[in-house]
Symmetry: C2
Subunit: 244 residues, 2 copies
């Protein structure tokens, strides 16, 4: 049997413990929030109202809340990311896929002071994207297309953050159910196929994609939904992601 932790001795140590006064960095979370609007993959950016990089586009984000002492240590990183998402978009974090991406901590990435940024990426279903309103301290927010962002001057190292996020999403598209977070609750096979085409930036063969889709059907990952999607020609069968 192992003795319980913390021991009485450890408790005493903790009571007497005083952190040394070494300089500490600020820690922020930055969000790469993707959605698809008008058949384009886009990320949400906000225009910086203050120096540094005043007037440039930047990723939404903010500092992690850290408590005053050992008993009050503040919020978890995931909590901070979800809180920022809520504050900056007004969206319910429970309805958005959000996931830690990478941590960017190069010295001098922020000219004001040392800032280490834990980046997250999020996927917003296109039917929710229109409800996004720039919240709180940001007056200007826009869903800019990825290819446009690549040509745009961005604050800090945010271009690199977006690039990293894009690569992650592309990678996970193959083996995870991440694509379902970029379509409305119900979708047709061609609609889901378009998501793949747009994110991967290459045409997907309708026949081959259907096979992949049918495997997901057989695996019980998705199921048929009532009704048909009316198009300019033959209506398409409608499906939905099977929550379980």
């Amino acid at each position: 049997m192992s003795s319980p932790r913390p021991s009485a001795e450890e408790k005493q140590f903790l009571e007497k413990y005083r952190p040394k006064d070494y300089p500490r960095p600020s820690v922020a979370v930055d969000l790469v929030i993707f959605t698809i609007i008008d058949a384009q993959l886009r990320a949400l950016v906000v225009k910086r109202q203050e120096h540094p990089f005043k007037g440039d586009w930047a990723l939404p984000g903010g500092f992690v809340r850290v408590g005053e002492g050992p008993k009050e240590q503040g919020e978890d990183l995931d909590t901070a990311a979800r809180r920022e998402l809520q504050e900056e978009t007004g969206l319910d974090p429970d309805r958005v896929h959000i996931e830690q991406l990478f941590t960017f901590g190069r010295a001098n990435r922020d000219p004001r002071m040392r800032v280490i940024s834990v980046a997250y990426f999020a996927l917003v279903r296109p039917d929710l994207a229109p409800f996004v309103k720039a919240g709180g301290d940001v007056s200007h927010a826009e869903w800019l297309p990825i290819d446009q962002l690549k040509k745009t001057e961005l604050a800090f190292d945010h271009r690199e953050v977006i690039e990293t996020g894009l690569n992650r999403v592309r990678g996970k598209l193959e083996y995870s159910g991440i694509a379902f977070d970029l379509v409305p609750l119900t979708f047709t096979i061609p609609e889901l196929r378009h998501v793949y085409s747009i994110v991967l930036d290459k045409e997907m063969d309708p026949g081959n994609f259907r096979r992949k889709f049918n495997r997901m059907l057989e695996d019980g990952l998705i199921e048929q939904a009532p009704g048909k999607r009316i198009t300019a020609s033959k209506p398409a069968t409608v499906y939905r992601f099977k929550r379980r």
Copy 2:
């Protein structure tokens, strides 16, 4: 044309800028250093000499050095990880694969104060592992087998960190050249196959593995090395990773 940054106005802003005195977390790097010894995948752990978790095994690591002001912002995260690797093992970071893993920042993961840990994983070639000497402030370091670590009491959330690292290494084994960082400079096909077996914890079919190996040969990823590896029976052809 975009105007040069920082502008005169921004420079002035930065000179006047004084960071608000919000509490900040400490930021550490922790290392999951893997190697293979005696046909077992192992990670390096050090015995904690001080509270908290005194006497428990913990991952090597340390705090990121942060400068005093905006001009002196300290070391990069990667630099901190490489420095800790060097300090704790004596190994040359240039000869070790090291890569950012995940950031662990749960509140109260350290009872002393808020600590956010950027975890890295490293792969040490087995021929280098014996030279590892516990350095500096750690008196006791050991290469403990993974399955033993899973049953061992570990400090902080380090069990979760190791688990995350293991999953990452297993995942990357399939599609990256990461396996070459776990064999000596020259190796035979059965030797490389054993690495896969050990890391993935499942037997690999010799015939099928050879096919995969031959594809890497054709791709120019590896090349034959002079000599033969003497075994208890038929000697094996020796190969090496093709640096380029």
